[in-house]
């Protein structure tokens, strides 16, 4: 990454309303030059509208768009130094692959396009297909043409609108790595819109999770996953277990909470909610952070871990791990993923167990929100 800021995307107070419907609430966002930035959210969350406002295809109702130091808010799309890879590609059906890729160069009055187009087609491994029409290519090839057609213009920012949505799973994985490779190679800013959390986490340096026209949280994929600030983020990215707890005391950097007669410890730095004694907090923990010990061996659990007693209600073996559902006093269906290293044969539905995990893996959220926010959307993605 360089100190060059000409490829920065800066959105200030940008908003979009259609009549009485607000697609995007006033939004401030800075995408640094050279980064791979993902806008993640369910359909209708405003991510595509945001992208289209950067491209100039949608006029913001308020706010400004800056590319580097240039205010481009009033510029039409054909005067902005950005290019888009459209959902379902929007390749020109009447032009062959070569002319599709050459389109941007020709419109800017560049006469000798042959070498550039050839090089670009080689970069996306389509040199042989130059004279074919788009409909004669497979989905993956069309996708690469769309990327080549945009990249050949050396835009300051490349916008990708669900570019992999139409591909099957295997091809999608392959193209994710391919796009990441291209981005590293050309070093320009990528802004990627997707509803697929795995895709966003694999590819992007920074992810902005959007929900109902607002950015819920912005951060690196690990940061978002390990330290979600809202239940929506916690549920949309992976799975989370929640316990409603009450603040008891504070000891040093930790908060001690009461839940169902037991005590849980939560580092204060990992709590997104205000903590006053007696106040409610949602305690969250990811299923794979939890260890499962049979109740008979409860004495072997090291001191200082958060513990909850429960009974296994369901287990499903999925090869690398086993997924358990545990009923407990504080949460009726605790999900626990256990790696299949040393399988304890006693851990079967009906067995009494102790769930325990390190306080460092606990996160605290404001209790005044829907516990299930983002569950449906996350599952669908």
């Amino acid at each position: 990454m360089t100190n060059d800021t000409s490829g920065d995307v800066r959105l200030s107070g940008i908003a979009k309303t259609y009549g009485s419907f607000t697609a995007v609430h006033p939004l401030d966002l800075t995408v640094p030059q050279g980064s791979f930035f993902a806008l993640l959210g369910a359909s209708g969350c405003g991510k595509t509208t945001t992208l289209r406002m950067i491209a100039g295809l949608e006029e913001p109702s308020a706010g400004t768009v800056h590319l580097g130091d240039q205010d481009v808010t009033a510029l039409p799309p054909y005067k902005r130094p950005v290019n888009t890879v459209f959902q379902s590609y929007a390749l020109f059906p009447h032009l062959d692959i070569f002319e599709n890729v050459a389109f941007g160069l020709r419109r800017r009055g560049i006469k000798s396009v042959k070498k550039q187009v050839g090089d670009m087609l080689d970069l996306v491994q389509l040199g042989e297909q130059a004279r074919k029409k788009p409909h004669q290519l497979s989905g993956g090839q069309q996708q690469r043409v769309a990327v080549a057609r945009a990249l050949i213009n050396h835009p300051k920012v490349l916008l990708l609108d669900e570019p992999l949505g139409a591909l099957d799973l295997k091809l999608r994985r392959q193209m994710q790595l391919e796009l990441k490779r291209i981005q590293t190679e050309v070093g320009i800013t990528f802004v990627h819109v997707t509803h697929d959390q795995e895709e966003a986490m694999t590819m992007a340096d920074t992810v902005a999770v959007m929900n109902a026209g607002r950015v819920e949280q912005l951060g690196s994929p690990t940061d978002l996953y390990e330290n979600p600030r809202t239940t929506f983020v916690a549920n949309f990215l992976g799975t989370s277990n929640f316990i409603e707890a009450e603040v008891d005391t504070k000891s040093g950097d930790d908060i001690v909470l009461k839940a169902g007669g037991g005590k849980l410890v939560l580092p204060e730095s990992r709590c997104a909610a205000a903590t006053t004694t007696g106040g409610k907090v949602l305690v969250g923990v990811r299923p794979e952070k939890i260890s499962l010990t049979h109740a008979d061996d409860a004495g072997e659990i090291p001191e200082g871990r958060n513990r909850i007693n429960g009974r296994i209600t369901n287990s499903s073996f999925i090869g690398v791990s086993t997924q358990y559902v545990v009923d407990s006093a504080v949460c009726p269906d605790f999900e626990v993923y256990v790696q299949n290293v040393d399988r304890d044969t006693r851990l079967e539905p009906g067995a009494d167990v102790v769930l325990h995990w390190s306080p460092a893996h606990t996160f605290g959220l404001d209790a005044a929100q829907d516990i299930d926010a983002g569950v449906e959307e996350g599952a669908a993605a």
Binding site: P77, Y78, F86, F92, H94, F103, R107
Partner: protein
């Protein structure tokens, strides 16, 4: 028994050939009788083979004049109807304006209206306006009834067009004019071409509306009608056959070109 089996196997082919014969027989008759040498004024009975009419297609007075007039009217009517119709089609598909729904259905009225009624009403209109009947009244009438067909053909094409294609063009530095010329127009072209062909055929053929609004001007269909009263010159068959052959050649040429294109691609 074997015959029944044979019939079963080839029923589709036989039905197809019979239908084709039904469609083409009139054309065959026209062609055959263009080589006739009729005894009287009427070319309705086969007498003997002759190429006299083919050697002198304009040998009948006024025939080629009326043909040239019809071609001119068809050309200008096609141009006018295609231009206007294409613009109307784009407006109807792309823009939301007041009375759009009404325009959408009114545009089909000329297709639904009995032609003879429309012809008579147009004549009333022209007479009341004090217009001089002739080339211009025919042209105005033709553009009017060709419009609906062009609009229908182009609209179907524009509606099926992905709006993202134009956005992609804009995204790739094409301004509004470039976007229209490089992307919109080429993609809409087949629809526009279909509309134009339809308009040409309709205009060239039209008798009823033309007959009411032509005044003393005589187009080719009117000429044929008029001569059929007094005796039909063989030259009419010659012109008919020639038109048919030209049309078939056009179709064949376009098929050859598109075949070659697909072969190149593969």
């Amino acid at each position: 028994m074997t015959f029944v089996n044979w019939l079963k196997r080839n029923l589709v082919v036989i039905a197809g050939l019979l239908t084709l014969a039904y469609l083409l027989l009139p054309n065959v008759v026209v062609t055959v009788f263009s080589f006739n040498n009729p005894k009287g004024r009427f070319n309705y009975e086969w007498q003997e083979f002759s190429t006299a009419a083919w050697q002198d297609p304009c040998g009948v007075s006024d025939l080629c004049g009326s043909l040239s007039l019809s071609l001119q009217i068809a050309f200008w009517a096609t141009l006018g109807a295609t231009l206007l119709g294409t613009m109307i089609a784009f407006a109807l598909v792309r823009y939301r304006f007041r009375a759009r729904g009404a325009v959408n259905s009114l545009i089909f009225l000329p297709m639904a209206m009995p032609e003879v009624v429309m012809a008579a009403s147009l004549l009333t209109l022209f007479l009341n306006m004090g217009a001089q009947l002739g080339f211009w009244t025919i042209l105005i009438a033709h553009i009017m009834f060709c419009l609906s067909f062009v609009v229908t053909a182009v609209k179907a094409r524009v509606m099926s067009m992905d709006p993202r294609l134009e956005q992609a063009a804009q995204d790739l530095y094409a301004g509004p004019v470039q976007t229209f010329l490089r992307v919109t127009l080429p993609i809409a072209a087949p629809g526009i071409a279909a509309g134009a062909l339809l308009a040409f055929a309709l205009s060239f053929d039209d008798f009823i509306i033309t007959n009411f609004n032509a005044g003393s001007t005589v187009t080719f269909p009117m000429f044929v009608w008029g001569s059929a009263q007094r005796g039909t010159p063989v030259q009419i068959n010659v012109i008919g056959t020639a038109m048919f052959v030209i049309a078939v050649l056009f179709v064949l040429a376009s098929m050859v070109i598109s075949n070659r294109r697909t072969k190149q691609k593969a």
